[in-house]
């Protein structure tokens, strides 16, 4: 019996009740990573096109900043009928992220009812995709604040929007809120550790665009009232204001951003299967799509972020 106790002690000390041993490992993929071109372009009526073109990096590379991945020297054209818009390289400074973000900018604002074809000539390959801006804008009928609602992403605070879906077509919607924030505001998910050092002072305000992660459809609700519960991206205080829009998306964009959201969920949630992103642009990854915005509605947060 003494032997049993002795060995038991040694064993338990070694095992610590199924204490897993953890170590860093090296994943040996072939060194010549097959870099993919990633294109993201959304056209909005009345706005000049902005097309983001980047290259994928090996998974374990840390070179993932916008400037590092930007696909320079691409020839980018958007054609509609006989009108050709040749896009040029440009960049904006994102104060919230504290970084330059390069992209390709067009000069001709997109128009409702037209079909546009994107052509990207990069590194000897040509990628093309088209979109037609014919989605119906909807009106926001009501906005409510909610301190707590539950969805597959867990429990959140957020806003509940009501719209009436136009009948007869399959429609896709997502939320947009334009706000002015200062450097004290945190991202609700990923930037808890991020310290913004790019602003001139704590009172300096700059614009952010918060786009909802969920793409809503009118499947089984064609022509009916639709309530959308939306988790917001940034922290807020009572009295903070934002201009809320509903984007009516084309099908390609809706499917692509749903894939992105599913993958985001799968990356974070260990109980969800990995999601492969389905491209909408042959030969490349990404999407070329369009959205029509609703009229904006001013929303004032009735209480502090919980």
């Amino acid at each position: 019996m003494k032997t049993v106790k002795k060995v038991a002690s040694i064993t338990i000390a070694a095992l610590l009740f199924i204490t897993a041993c953890k170590k860093d490992i090296t994943i040996n993929f072939p060194a010549d990573h097959n870099s993919k071109v990633f294109i993201e372009g959304m056209l909005y009526p009345g706005k000049k096109p902005q097309i983001f073109i980047s290259k994928s990096n090996p998974f374990f590379s840390s070179n993932v900043s916008p400037q590092q991945v930007f696909a320079r020297r691409a020839v980018v054209k958007i054609t509609s009928g006989t009108t050709v818009d040749v896009l040029v390289q440009d960049s904006i400074f994102n104060k919230f992220r504290c970084r330059w973000e390069p992209f390709y900018r067009g000069n001709i604002p997109a128009q409702y009812g037209k079909t546009y074809t994107l052509e990207v000539n990069y590194d000897g390959n040509i990628y093309t995709a088209s979109t037609t801006i014919n989605q119906k804008a909807v009106a926001i009928e009501s906005i409510e604040y909610t301190a707590e609602f539950f969805d597959v992403y867990g429990g959140h605070d957020g806003v509940i929007l009501k719209i009436t879906d136009p009948p007869g077509t399959r429609d896709y919607y997502r939320f947009q809120m334009n706000r002015m924030i200062d450097s004290s505001v945190r991202h609700a998910h990923v930037l808890d550790k991020f310290i913004n050092t790019c602003v001139s002072g704590p009172d300096e305000k700059f614009p952010v665009t918060d786009i909802g992660r969920i793409v809503f459809t009118d499947e089984n609700a064609d022509g009916q009232k639709i309530l959308m519960s939306i988790e917001v991206t940034h922290e807020y205080e009572k009295g903070d204001k934002g201009w809320i829009f509903i984007q009516s998306l084309d099908r390609n964009s809706a499917e692509f951003y749903k894939d992105l959201d599913d993958q985001l969920q799968a990356i974070k949630n260990p109980f969800v299967e990995p999601v492969f992103i389905n491209t909408k642009i042959p030969g490349a990854m990404g999407v070329f799509g369009s959205a029509v915005l609703s009229d904006s509605v001013l929303f004032v947060y009735p209480r502090d972020h919980p």
Binding site: I25, S62, F276
Partner: protein, 763 residues
């Protein structure tokens, strides 16, 4: 039932057209001389005509032979002394044959007698009788003997996650194995999250694994049948055996109720790990399990035998580590079986069974700020009747009918842990149950056409009804043998199988979040078609068996969770599932030494298993999660002295498949919540983790000791699991630095070197 009896008798008559009045039938049972326990698979050979048969799972045999003055019967069983009987064979004879266990003599455990050439003699292929002695001798984890760990060492079989008892046969998923204890299905045969199986070795009489060439009497699963038969209990004397190990203690009591007529066995096991770990772990960590096996049997005259068996096992555990995976679980299996054997004359053996089983599992896990809840319950009620008819020596007809009522109650949920407030819970009372009915009729004939050629052919017709949808199939089965000389045979088989219950596996979480669902309108039954061919050769007077089997298996209507699908509280899981097909082919080599001071086997499997789902991996084919190109197992037990046995097991398998992103893309135009780096996947299960290998060692010392004028056996067993402490991959995950965005791959390994000791006694 009348129709069934008609069919049986017509078939019996058809097959017995060659039988004349000059033939007699010798039938009866083969049993252990001391315990009167029946011997399953014992060989009975008519030495005059060189024809023979073997006992069924109740120890019964029936041999029809020409009437003569005397015939010599040779009865053998591995580990027992061969017995030759000269009998006057002019009329039908009923026999009870008692064989003497070679290890019944004091301290003698060397297996020396009992030739067994069924592997080359019988037409059935893909069958392995698992030696109980091997289960008792081979090294084990923490001193706990385990049946399923031994199953994992057989050709065509491989373990899944490190250290667990789950097994995967010929490219099939875990749910494609039908694990039966005294005919009752055990849906989750695990303790301690799969580190140990629920089967108490002291209560087991016989174990048989069928992985191909399935006889028609078996159905409902695609990949394997693991048939476990409990002991009946010693009919001649009371016997107590037990043991204490690091994790649990066990006690088995058996004995006669009415000497040589009826007996009982009760075997129980309970963990005491909770007491041992308390000083080392924080509150919230606990683990308790127990299992109880009980069986009674009554001989009701010379023609009837009644068996009542019962099993219950339960686990309750909690593990709390703020920096890692956390879980709370409570799961258990209960089964009860009533069986009635009845002899209709000397040529027809019937068995009628009523079976109840109840399985439920509740699991709550959390990992990386997300939590998952799972509840799954299955209640089955089964009635079945089977007939074995032996109209002539060359034919053995089996037929039967079964009906099972299934009630499945699945529910699951997963979400991020709320920053405030309570988590959602699953209320068992509010879950909708899914009801289904499964019926099957089968008929098969085992025909020894000549001394060289034999064939086992049959049909099984399963019918399944659920959610207003009925599925019915015809499953042809055929397995044939051609003898090439006295010690070699070549076999081939074709089987078609269907499976109506599905265990949907989750590929990503560190802990299993599998859930059982029935077939329905959207989820169609799984099906498989398997072809196999093999060569079997025995050496040194059957001391060494060798075989090489090659197989090809195609599986349809395979089920997986769709990409990104998240568990919801709903019994209707169909919307989360995707459907596809699988294909597996391979070669299995087996070399087994049955007798002598050194026993053991070498098993090597070379295989390839892929799946294809239109909605996964861009529709392209991908490796099955448990695809392993090479699997090698070497086991050996050596009788060092009369008291000491040393044993070793070495296992090697190619690395498990894992889905690893190959690249990252940055999204910029998507609004703030989408901003970040997304993964580029080039293929599902595109990467192989490090290969798995380990060496286990053990030594046991068995002695007979005299205390208070009585003899009892005691055994010390010492073991070392994973002797060179290989850090085998359990699962991997990524950590991404919030500031630099650089990912790091982390591998979690579960079991380092683990010594074990157990003390066992028997009197």
């Amino acid at each position: 039932m009348k129709l069934l009896m008609h069919i049986i008798y017509v078939l019996a008559l058809l097959c017995s057209t060659t039988a004349t009045a000059q033939k007699i039938t010798i039938s009866g049972y083969v049993k252990d001389q001391v315990s009167r326990e029946v011997l399953i698979g014992a060989s009975i050979v008519n030495a005059n005509s060189k024809t023979g048969t073997s006992t069924n799972q109740y120890g019964f045999f029936s041999l029809t032979t020409p009437a003569t003055d005397t015939i010599e019967l040779v009865i053998s069983y591995q580990g027992y002394n061969i017995q030759a009987k000269k009998i006057i064979a002019k009329t039908n004879i009923r026999l009870e044959v008692f064989l003497e266990n070679t290890s019944a003599m004091l301290n003698e455990v060397i297996v020396t007698a009992g030739k067994d050439d069924r592997n080359i003699r019988k037409a059935q292929m893909g069958v392995i009788d698992v030696p109980i002695k091997a289960i008792k001798n081979l090294p084990v984890l923490m001193g706990e003997r385990d049946l399923l760990k031994i199953i994992q060492l057989l050709p065509g079989v491989q373990g899944g996650q490190e250290g667990t008892t789950g097994f995967y046969v010929r490219g099939g998923n875990m749910d494609q194995n039908l694990v039966q204890l005294d005919e009752a299905t055990v849906y989750n045969p695990n303790h301690l999250f799969g580190l140990f199986s629920t089967f108490n070795v002291n209560a087991i009489n016989n174990v048989q694994l069928i992985k191909g060439g399935f006889p028609a009497e078996y159905g409902g699963r695609l990949s394997s049948i693991l048939n476990i038969t409990m002991k009946e209990g010693n009919k001649s004397k009371y016997q107590v055996e037990g043991g204490i190990g690091l994790l649990s203690n066990n006690l088995t009591v058996q004995g006669p109720i009415q000497k040589n007529k009826s007996s009982f066995i009760v075997s129980a096991r309970q963990s005491h790990i909770n007491l041992l770990i308390k000083p080392f772990t924080s509150s919230g960590n606990s683990y308790k399990f127990y299992d109880i096996n009980a069986k009674i049997n009554f001989e009701l005259g010379s023609k009837d035998h009644l068996f009542i068996s019962f099993f219950k096992g339960n686990d309750k555990a909690g593990y709390n580590n703020p920096n890692s995976l956390n879980y709370i679980t409570d799961f258990g299996n209960s089964t009860a079986t009533v069986r009635w054997n009845h002899l209709l004359g000397s040529k027809v053996f019937s068995n009628t069974s009523f079976i109840y089983n109840d399985y439920n599992l509740a699991l709550a896990t959390s990992q990386n700020n997300y939590y998952s809840l799972l509840y799954t319950a299955i209640k089955d009620v089964t009635a079945k009747t089977d007939f074995t008819i032996t109209p002539t020596t060359r034919h053995k007809i089996k037929t039967g009918f079964s009906y099972t009522s299934h009630r499945l109650t699945p529910a699951s949920f997963s979400a991020s842990i709320p920053r405030r407030g309570n988590r959602i819970t699953i209320n068992k009372g509010n879950i909708n149950s899914l009801y289904s009915d499964e019926m099957a009729f089968y008929i098969a004939n085992e025909w020894d056409a000549s001394t060289k050629f034999g064939v086992n052919y049959g049909l099984r017709v399963p019918v399944f009804t659920a959610s207003g949808k009925t599925y019915s199939y015809i499953e042809p089965r055929i397995s044939s043998k051609l003898s090439v000389g006295a010690t070699t045979s070549v076999k081939a088989s074709y089987t078609r199988m269907n499976q109506f219950l599905h265990l949907v596996p989750n590929a990503t979480a560190g802990l299993p979040t599998d859930i059982w669902i029935p077939s329905g309108k959207k989820t169609k039954p799984q099906s498989s078609t398997q072809y196999a061919i093999g060569v079997y050769k025995n050496f040194l007077d059957d001391e060494i068996e060798a075989s090489l089997e090659v197989y090809h298996k195609r599986m349809d209507n395979q089920v997986l969770f769709g990409e990104g699908k998240q568990l919801k509280i709903s019994s209707n899981l169909d919307s989360l599932l995707v459907y596809g097909k699988g294909e597996s082919y391979g070669a299995e080599f087996f070399l087994k030494k049955n007798t002598g001071t050194l026993t053991g086997w070498i098993s090597y499997t070379l295989s390839n298993t892929t799946q294809q789902f239109n909605d996964l991996n861009f529709g392209k084919e991908f490796p099955f999660k448990y695809d392993r190109r090479h699997v090698l197992s070497v086991t050996g037990s050596y009788q060092l002295t009369k008291a000491w046995i040393v044993s070793a097991v070495f296992v090697y398998s190619s690395g498990p498949a894992s889905t690893i992103p190959t690249g990252r893309i940055s999204t910029l135009n998507s609004g703030t919540i989408f901003e970040g780096n997304y993964y580029v996947y080039e293929g599902r299960n595109n990467y192989r983790l490090a290969s798995y290998h380990r060496l286990d060692l053990s030594a046991s010392n068995k002695k007979t000791v005299r205390i208070w004028k009585k003899y009892y056996e005691r055994e010390w067993s010492f073991s070392v699991y994973n002797a060179y402490s290989r850090q085998n991959p359990y699962f991997i995950y990524f950590e991404i630095d919030a500031l630099s965005s650089k990912p790091t791959a982390k591998q979690v390994s579960l079991l380092p070197i683990i010594p074990g000791v157990s003390f066992n006694f028997k009197f």
